[in-house]
Symmetry: C2
Subunit: 480 residues, 2 copies
């Protein structure tokens, strides 16, 4: 019972015993508790491709209510067992990986849309609702959920909140946190906090909703989410712009943001090799072979004439930067086709190699051209490929650092931290940071001091201690 698996603040954790498993089975039903090898393996990782970031839980439990979760936390506190909350497992920082074993608390059964309040424009949902399902559910009311992570077809809204997910519409609509007006949170002690609610403004004390948003499951288990809905834009216009090189493409971004007088919905960037891989996988017929980069530009709005006019502004700015081609989507289907090129990039790059580090750097928008130069420099220096794409309009780029095929895995594991350190030093120098939307998890934890002072990390640690004095919730994430 007292086998120490890992170090926790104030002492070691204890192992999950048969008695604890029995108690969980009694609480949630035996069908909702698992500890067979196959299940444990499935819940021991997220979408981080590298094996070494995985770690098995000791038991998986799938509660169906806030009350059950409160009881699980009371058991965990009593037994000093770590608990790692888990959504869809679609994260990219190892955030849902149970680094110290213990209980994997899967929220997959908490998947109900509890209320769509069309008078207050608020949906109340459980954390296990698939993001796109929420958006579909509110569509008949002329509403939409403005968050738009690229994984919306499988990620959970609870995970979006825990990571403060960004996505493809953040320039205009902001990231997940902007739409969260309230949260129900179970603390490590089993106490239940009600933060915010259906009100749209609130300055009553510190903004604990924003504190829990993006806290990666380290402060509490999110059990209910109040989501602000917006009038669904009736029209959109999507344009793909192909350029000879990345620098020409990226010069368009500040020109649009500062000179166009409009706020586009999306400015997505895809570099040469990402574009070639994606278009190749999709058997795309757009003239991508000669292109050094593609921008995917979108505007949306209520009035078709206004959307057309805004789209024309975007294209005029593109034209001033010598595009190879401008492809205007003439229908919803064509819009979807262009977005498919963007959404397929991660899968196409994954096909090239399993040994890659998916990065999520963010810099002030004007610094993007310099970041791209630095990525080419790192490619040259280390002999690796670093294809790159992402949300150019808010300075957030996904650079996939890919292993040189000639290297052994051991060599890769030595080289990868060297490359990441250099990359993050560049990002820090340019006023950016190491994650714009994927989070720190345990994958980026060692690099946090490159972009954050000791004092700031210590403040976060003290906040963590206030919420979770024993350090039981998702231990080993963000900071030690």
């Amino acid at each position: 019972v007292d086998e120490t698996i890992g170090a926790a603040p104030g002492g070691g954790f204890r192992a999950v015993t048969e008695a604890i498993i029995g108690e969980l089975a009694e609480l949630c039903g035996a069908a909702n508790v698992a500890n067979d090898a196959k299940a444990l393996a499935r819940y021991g990782r997220d979408q981080v491709p590298e094996e070494r970031y995985a770690h098995l839980p000791e038991v998986i439990v799938k509660p169906a209510s806030t009350g059950e979760i409160a009881e699980i936390m009371r058991i965990a506190t009593r037994e000093r067992v770590p608990v790692t909350p888990r959504g869809a497992g679609s994260g990219l920082s190892g955030g849902a990986v149970p680094l110290y074993g213990g209980i994997c608390l899967s929220l997959e059964r908490m998947n109900r849309i509890l209320e769509i309040d069309t008078k207050n424009l608020i949906a109340v949902v459980e954390p296990g609702v698939v993001t796109n399902k929420l958006d579909e559910a509110v569509r008949p009311f002329g509403l939409f959920f403005a968050g738009y992570p690229m994984s919306e077809e499988f990620c959970f809204i609870g995970g979006n909140v825990a990571e403060n997910a960004g996505g493809g519409r953040a320039i205009k609509y902001g990231v997940t946190g902007r739409y969260i007006t309230g949260l129900e949170v179970v603390l490590a002690s089993g106490e239940i906090l009600q933060l915010g609610g259906k009100r749209l403004k609130d300055v009553t004390g510190y903004d604990l909703v924003s504190l829990v948003v993006g806290s990666e499951g380290t402060l509490g288990v999110i059990t209910k989410v109040f989501v602000r809905l917006m009038p669904r834009p009736a029209h959109r216009s999507t344009t793909a712009a192909l350029f000879a090189d990345a620098r020409s493409a990226m010069a368009v971004v500040p020109a649009i943001m500062t000179g166009g007088g409009i706020v586009p919905t999306s400015i997505e960037f895809i570099d040469r090799s990402s574009l070639a891989e994606s278009c190749g996988m999709l058997h795309e017929t757009i003239p991508y072979e000669d292109a050094g980069a593609m921008l995917l530009l979108e505007v949306d709005g209520t009035h078709e004439s206004q959307v057309r006019a805004d789209a024309e502004v975007l294209r005029a700015v593109c034209r001033a930067h010598a595009p190879l081609a401008l492809i205007l989507a003439e229908s919803e289907a064509e819009s979807e086709r262009l977005w498919k090129i963007r959404k397929t990039v991660p899968w196409a790059l994954k096909r090239r190699t399993a040994d890659q580090s998916i990065e999520d750097i963010v810099v002030p928008i004007a610094a993007i051209p310099e970041v791209l130069d630095e990525l080419r420099r790192l490619e040259g220096e280390f002999g690796v490929a670093i294809p790159c794409f992402g949300h150019a309009g808010d300075g957030n780029l996904h650079a996939h650092v890919q292993k040189d095929p000639s290297w052994s895995r051991e060599e890769w594991q030595v080289r990868e931290p060297e490359i990441l350190t250099q990359l993050y030093e560049v990002v820090a120098r340019l006023g950016g940071t190491i994650s714009g939307e994927h989070g720190i998890g345990h994958k980026r934890k060692p690099y946090l001091p490159l972009v954050m002072s000791d004092r700031q990390i210590e403040l976060m640690r003290q906040i963590k201690r206030a919420f979770d004095p024993q350090g039981l919730l998702n231990p080993g994430k963000i900071f030690d």
Copy 2:
């Protein structure tokens, strides 16, 4: 030296000695330190009208740099003297009142716009910049600051951040916090924190920027603000809609928010007596005498045709609710004239009586009609006038609870807490809270438990302790 003025966590504060005053004068220049009675009186209150919420500082210091502020905090920590940061003194919760005396740290000399970065769409400003001055400074670049507190002509951006100020455009543009990408903060210890910066997205650890926003000067002194700028909307359209009664007017709000398919910039509400007072003071000629309520509706955008179309949607919804009159502003000057009616309300109500409690309740938007009914009930029950106006589009109403002229001030001071308690209980029952944009300060502190659990208050207290272990910064605010 050891005279105890008030209780602080871990012991009492000490008085400001002549030696400390001398040290401050050496640091900031004698001209920037004052402790004469006239100055102390001027810095002993904010815009809360009631005398009993005022309290004198022992000394006022006006530093000109982050370095000076860090040194002031080191002196305060060494001497165990409380420090109350102060912006324009335009607050409405007693937030800038030095409740335990000590040092009033006025940021009025920290009033430089340090940088307008048009490539990154970020302004870097000191906290003492007048909000409107920032907006004017970025106007030549086709940009604007989307925050719009009603006091923008005299409030400071630092105060806007400290209170997370709302205002008249929050429905579409959100509140101050949405535009804050970074902060420089001096802790009680004198340490300087750099939080965020010019990047538009950041999920690197907990969101400490959002934690400091709205923390009312209790966590640190804000010494630099990174403000996100937006393309300035080229066109706006303002409409005043007069209705027979408040209920008819308020029925329009959810109809616009849910049925119009557009997000208006502003939906401001003014009730019968507020309207009469303001129009009377302005010698307004709009037909307000028969009106039971007025809505001020505004849309803005890039294209004139779109703005006209959106404005027509608003007016169509109004027409469906039997307005007495719809007044469309045909020019900028007419827009300003209509806004003037709204902006004059607080001054007009203040003229009526100095003994009033300016409230800032917020409820889910659909609950506004019920709140208005409850205000009428409280008026009847207590025999007071409670004129009411505010930001109806986001459920945030300013109810001014005004003393019955026949009551003595002593009677008023007994009755006011009874009225506020009942009002806040109504707000809590409807899913709202006691402040939408003015903050808690010390004026609303006794009522916090009506809308917040002990556990949540205790969490905030622990966060406070992490930032300011001796409790020196703005003591006695938000919670004890």
